[in-house]
């Protein structure tokens, strides 16, 4: 049966990338993108430029509205409520049935709620509406308690002090992000909070109380943080409900292969909502980063068309806080390199790049603070399986451009 109708559920960067890739691969049948949030936009600016007010809604959209009509993509601002594979259709929340030969689920993830008494009063940040609400709350002088000092929590605290609010970051792990960027850079980044006026509190909330407008985040160590607004940045939960309701295999993410195929051959999935099942049956860690979402959307587009998915190299992410640009490629998690070692490049005594080397000398990962060429060199070294000279990696005068040649 020829493939004539594809429906993509979710207009995040994974769903959008799949739609774009389908057209690039020459698919010319019907293509519908369900995007309950309206015109698809990019999320990373929500905790950066958009939150600070330096970028507006127009600036962060993925492409202008005209693009969808030009590429024959029907943009429908509705949610899917059920998959009806046997009828070859998807049911929308309004009750309408949309026929589809194949479906791509790109439903993303939602912020994990703070599971303590009063925890639902905490704001979270995932959508533009969330960012608008947070922006209003981050008024000059407002006291903000941010629970979770990971990537998003730290970005929010960083934006809060720029906007003139007072921020306290609460996290039991000091420093956080060691597996993501290595210990040296994690410590440097942690130290920047105090330099920029963000207080840190090493504990976990046990309760949020609110008596007469006086909100207190009570911590396990017996202390309390007084706040006008509480934000939770404690991770995300993959949005698998639609998939599970339809009987698709899921385990902390909709299970997919490298081409996005789920346990139902007519249904594919991509992005933050998914988790890769390797050919040997083991499950990979779920990714929560932008580039991985783009790539899996592209791979699923190939899968939807019955074509081989492209192979991708080491994963990469970035984050911006306190005026610095943090990036990492591959892994810095020493638990993944039993006999390996970490090499650090210092510039004037400040760690600027960290490298994880395998026992055989191959590069497994690189993280940097404000050293973009190094992470780009590292990506090529990793993807080409080169064995770099550790002395050159740590030498601040060694030009990254030369290392990957």
């Amino acid at each position: 049966m020829p493939l004539r109708r594809i429906l993509v559920v979710g207009g995040g960067v994974a769903g959008f990338s799949a739609v774009r890739e389908l057209r690039e691969r020459g698919y010319d049948g019907e293509l519908t993108l369900l995007s309950p949030e309206g015109l698809p936009y990019d999320r990373p600016p929500l905790s950066k430029g958009y939150l600070l007010g330096t970028e507006d809604a127009q600036k962060i959209r993925l492409v202008p509205e005209a693009w969808y009509a030009e590429h024959g993509v029907g943009l429908v601002p509705e949610r899917a409520s059920a998959l009806r594979p046997s009828e070859g259709a998807v049911e929308l929340s309004g009750g309408r049935l949309v026929p589809a030969d194949r479906v791509l689920l790109a439903t993303g993830s939602t912020p994990r709620r703070l599971g303590v008494a009063g925890g639902d009063t905490a704001l979270t940040l995932r959508t533009r509406a969330d960012a608008d609400a947070l922006r209003t709350a981050l008024a000059p002088g407002a006291r903000v308690a941010v629970v979770g000092a990971g990537l998003i929590g730290s970005e929010v605290a960083s934006a809060a002090v720029v906007l003139g609010a007072e921020a306290t970051l609460i996290d039991p792990v000091v420093p956080p992000l060691v597996p993501a960027v290595g210990r040296a850079l994690a410590e440097r980044l942690q130290g920047m909070h105090a330099e920029r006026g963000v207080r840190t509190s090493v504990s976990v909330p046990v309760e949020i109380t609110d008596d007469g407008g006086r909100r207190l985040v009570r911590l396990a160590d017996g202390s309390a943080v007084e706040a006008d607004v509480v934000v939770a940045g404690i991770g995300v939960v993959p949005e698998t409900s639609l998939a599970e309701k339809s009987g698709l295999a899921a385990d902390d993410g909709i299970l997919v292969d490298a081409a996005g195929t789920t346990s139902n051959p007519a249904v594919f999935a991509a992005g933050d909502a998914t988790r890769l099942r390797r050919p040997d049956g083991t499950l990979a860690r779920r990714s929560e980063h932008w580039e991985a979402a783009v790539r899996s959307g592209q791979a699923a587009a190939a899968g939807l068309l019955g074509e081989a998915p492209p192979t991708f190299g080491a994963p990469w992410f970035w984050s911006d806080r306190h005026g610095v640009h943090v990036e990492a490629v591959g892994t810095l998690d020493e638990r993944q390199a039993p006999d390996g070692r970490t090499v650090v490049r210092f510039v004037d005594g400040v760690p600027q790049a960290a490298f994880l080397l395998a026992a055989d000398g191959r590069l497994l990962g690189c993280a940097v603070v404000d050293l973009p060429l190094m992470v780009r060199a590292a990506r090529r070294i990793i993807d080409r399986g080169l064995v770099p000279d550790p002395a050159a990696l740590s030498d601040p005068s060694a030009d990254p451009r030369k290392l990957a040649r």
Binding site: V13, R20, W67, E291, R376
Partner: protein
């Protein structure tokens, strides 16, 4: 259409790097990056990435592409065409020639193989 301006000798821009020509020097209203590729060619694009504020001259130059140092969108140096997200708008090209052993930049004049540097070309 402006006249060409001399931006130096080919040796002054090392292969795999770029030089920024500021508006004061070029008369063009935005900074222009003149790239020297490892294939030995010269190309010029508006220096500021079409996505956010990053200098493409500080990007990774490989073959005939440059990868933005901030969020890694790549641009085709010959045409300015954007090759991947998050940027979706092509970069503006400028013509560069090597004339009598000097690099000559024609600010505001499209490169021969340029795509139209207008709206988005996401697809």
């Amino acid at each position: 259409m402006s006249d060409g301006i001399d931006v130096g000798s080919p040796e002054e821009i090392e292969e795999g790097t770029a030089r920024i020509v500021e508006p004061e020097e070029s008369g063009f209203d935005e900074p222009i990056a003149v790239f020297h590729t490892e294939t030995g060619c010269f190309f010029a694009l508006n220096d500021i990435c079409t996505h956010e504020e990053a200098s493409l001259a500080e990007g990774w130059i490989e073959g005939e592409t440059v990868e933005c140092p901030l969020h890694s969108s790549s641009f085709d140096l010959r045409s300015g065409k954007v090759l991947g997200l998050p940027a979706t708008e092509d970069a503006r090209t400028h013509r560069v020639e090597v004339e009598d052993g000097r690099i000559v930049l024609y600010p505001g004049r499209d490169a021969e193989q340029a795509v139209r540097p207008s709206g988005p070309s996401a697809g």
